[in-house]
Symmetry: D2
Subunit: 337 residues, 4 copies
């Protein structure tokens, strides 16, 4: 960490600052510039908050120079993390497609969709049993019954299942779930992240609508600091001024995350755009830029969907898309899981 | 709700659409324009999701025309909600200042700060026992012990206390707390909101960093739909491209919220700016524009604060500010609580 | 255009509103809903500003339902616009790469870069003679001399040239330039756009940092309404809260623009990311998602570049990238220009 | 400027970097940290672009530590700039209100509005003769005739006039205008700024929709570097994700600008909110937070306004507002101009 001091600081106040830093167990080195003096902090600063130094009136700006995430940092773990889910791999040279409806609605729906997406080549089945909805008056999911229906669909098709958790008190219901999803709105629900750090299940962690890439990595770090290293990161669009799409897909997050961390990185084109015809072009971009997989909403009757129908593909559209995805994944020298 | 259809839609498909709407128990009226046909939905549409109609290929855009919040809506409840906290009022013609440290650190600290802010005229005491921190390696709060220290400070000074909840499983610890805060990162933690709807404690609900005013009102609606109508809304800055301030205080949110809802509206100038000297000018603007109160961070030794020291005032600065606040509140014809 | 009225409007005021609209030469149709009344405007509303109706106190919201751009609208012109630049085509099934330095610095530099990028397969040469710089103290370009050096490089290599205009008074200097660029900061310099509408040169129009897709199309419309239909649109990143990249590339803009307009759409990965290693992954995504071309910064000595060295490739990096681009363009069934 | 190097850089490459910096005429000081090495640059770095150093592969991040604006910097000029406009002062302890219609429409309109706003206490008259409009099909202003009508209104009332320039070629028409406005969309039209640097007229410079405070100051610096120091800065809302207001007024910009620069700072509440009833609360906040003035749209018949009627006050509303403004300005210990 580097502290940049204001012009001509009082010597007494500089000494006071250096003393406090010494009390924290850190060493310092001081450089004098034409207009500013700089103090470099030497030692482990990962637990310090840069802004806290601004309370010293002689400090002008503070710059962190080493990342505050460790377990998630590729510098500490150069090789790609590969996650094994019942024999199916995520990450490395594998490309995976997670598909299924926004929310679990009925036994018939889940069996139909699961059979269809499996036939088209999806490697995992998704479906929401607990649904975060902006309005308390909107459908909130089938809860435990929804998970039961997902497990039946798994039994029928063999597809591992991914479903979202919203409350740590429901964790017992996820005992037979293969991958637990943390949604965008809970990306900084730190108590939930800590609890999942003690789980042995892979976690599918979505970036929040207004969270930076660094914050996404710090949320992964929360889970990893508890001992659970099986995390998949997912970019699903950020909130900007543009209104033609529901969110703005930050496609640049893929190469940046692949550089900063060893964790697999997915794209969710359905939520990013919020409209079904955009799923295809965004999927193509995601494959080309190096994502490790896609999460795509598929519904057997999108017009009747109880949530997010506008962004769901029907099984025929998904099947056509998967044929193209396979061709593109092979072009990139990867294997479709 | 209004559906705007694409150019020259097939009559058969329009009929199909009208039939589905009728199945939902709604009436329709159809208007033909030069370039578009418009379908008006008549009836209660508060549980519908506008985007879901986009899956009908003949639908071009959908516009909601009645608000989806009811309990929080000023149209349903024209008078200001006034909340009583141990005899102290929030809202109506009263202006309240909640003050105290970012986090509870020690008995000595809390007693000192509580005594100081009371003497300066604060009407409630704040202090974090559970701290949402971006990094798992940063100080996370004293938890139950922190609440105990807050209650001791309350006993010593008589100031009601406000403190943040992060996990519904800790609700028992809040039995003697006067106001429960929901932080910006948990504004859409819907399970937490639902649980608090069954509590009888006033809730201090902060706007999320990237949440719209409508979403803030819908989160209030979550709590109110459970039966708890004692909610204070708080604007604390939104995330934008500007970097000179930690967040951008959306001061316009105050008059807009006062128009749309009957709930009291506060400003948190400490978190909005992220730097202590900005607290004073932002507080002045908040009073002038009609806010019902302020939440201000005060620390007896900001340089030693374990979190957010950069934005805390020391007790002397707070005392000076309160003198000015009193003068301004009176100028606005309100009473300082 | 649709006006949605407030609850229970006074009949007298509705009549007054309908009369004013009739005075504008438009017809109206009125629909009564459960909670609102809706007025549909029938006729040409392209010159109306929706917000202006908000001054009628009975009007709650206004929704435009037909696009306000006409010449740029794909509905009016379903086929792709293909632009011919000295025999080289832009748009349709062709993929083009425009390459060259951020700014023209010397004769030697331009000749070297032009020869190199031509050898690697670029189809147009770029170089800035007039440079928009945030600081008045930074290098501002060689102006007329810069254009002369570009023309020499064109003579030597045969590559058509693209260069930016900042002031309409310099238009004479662009007499032999092949494509005139309008930079992001001038996207809404309407006087410049109008003047270029009377030019017969193709215009390369970059999206502004905080401009919506609709605004970009309206700026194209400014040029087209003057009679110049040869416009290439370029997405180069928008301003968001994320700081890991200089701007956030809005990759979704490509499919949306391709749907809304018949004009060719390019991506500028160099300015979007602001860092050279990101040019490759963003280029891959741009090709896959259906862009018609790329604008890439190449400098023979990026470390010595007088501007934007950080985002420039050197000729070897560009050559490697072009080999991959060729392979990908062919995979998409297009032809590299 | 400070360069932070990557872990364990090669000694040869560090030497190469230090040599290049020496060639630029700058001295360096090197500090070794636990995980990084830091290079401090000593000397005048105001013309350097921090990102350019990122092309050295051993450089990780670059931090500027002295501001790149000089003439506009309060450090260089601690006293407030006070601008004299025909005997009326702007800045210092004076508070000024600029009022008038969005666009000049007719002689009758201008005389009526000018007489009204003068009677209510406005100190300058505004009116647009050249209008930046998103659509080429919308009313673009009366141009020279508009300026003539403004000058007639000035003759009739004695109010100095403020009007916007969009094209430097029209500068002659502004010979008798008192203050030239540069609109938000032209804030980075650098050629226009340079030309106005050679003018002797005060410039009213509006912040762009997506421009940072630093960029606003750099645009002022462009004008000042040409010799014209009479600049008024104006915050008029920035573009964010919130849609309840047309833009988000960044009220924090006032205290920050007052700290960083000696130039007067105004607020434009009409454009910030885009809706007339918001002008009053935002004006109150602006006065309280320390702005030097307001620019307010007033139209004698807002429903008939050819542009931006939705945000205009009528003369009665403006008169009521001015009574309150006077009371508040006096409360702040300032004088209404």
């Amino acid at each position: 960490m580097v502290l940049i001091l204001k012009n001509n600081p009082e010597v007494k106040k500089v000494d006071e600052l250096l003393e406090k830093i010494a009390e924290m167990g850190l060493k310092t080195q001081v450089v004098g510039g034409a207009s500013h003096t700089i103090v470099g902090l030497i030692g482990d600063t990962s637990h310090l908050i840069p802004e806290d130094f601004l309370h010293y009136e002689i400090v002008d700006t503070v710059q962190r120079i080493s990342e505050s995430y460790k377990a998630a940092n590729r510098k500490m773990h150069p090789d790609d993390t590969i996650i094994d889910i019942g024999g199916r791999k995520i990450g490395g040279g594998t490309f995976s497609v997670i598909a299924g409806p926004c929310s679990v609605e009925s036994e018939e729906q889940m069996k139909e969709v699961a059979t269809d997406v499996k036939a088209s080549g999806a490697s995992l089945l998704r479906g929401g049993a607990f649904k975060p909805r902006t309005s308390p008056y909107a459908f909130q999911g089938l809860h435990g019954e929804g998970i039961r229906l997902l497990l039946e669909a798994k039994k029928a098709t063999g597809l591992p299942i991914v479903t979202e958790i919203m409350d740590i008190n429901t964790l017992d219901l996820f005992a037979d779930v293969d991958v637990i999803q943390v949604g965008a709105r809970n990306m900084q629900n730190f108590e939930l992240l800590k609890a999942l750090g003690h789980s042995d299940k892979p976690i599918f962690l979505k970036r929040g609508l207004a969270n930076t890439i660094d914050e996404l990595l710090m949320s992964a770090e929360y889970i990893m600091s508890g001992g659970n290293n099986n995390i998949v990161l997912c970019e699903r669009g950020i909130r900007t001024f543009e209104t033609k799409t529901r969110n703005t897909l930050d496609i640049s997050a893929v190469p940046i995350l692949k550089k900063l961390t060893h964790l697999p990185v997915f794209i969710d084109p359905s939520h990013a755009a919020g409209i079904s015809w955009m799923v295809e072009p965004l999927s193509k971009a995601a494959i080309a830029i190096g994502a490790d997989g896609l999460m795509i909403e598929v519904h057997n009757n999108p017009k009747k969907a109880l949530c997010d129908g506008a962004q769901s593909l029907n099984p025929e559209q998904f099947d056509t898309l998967m044929k193209d995805i396979r061709r593109r994944v092979e072009f990139e020298g990867k294997t479709l899981a």
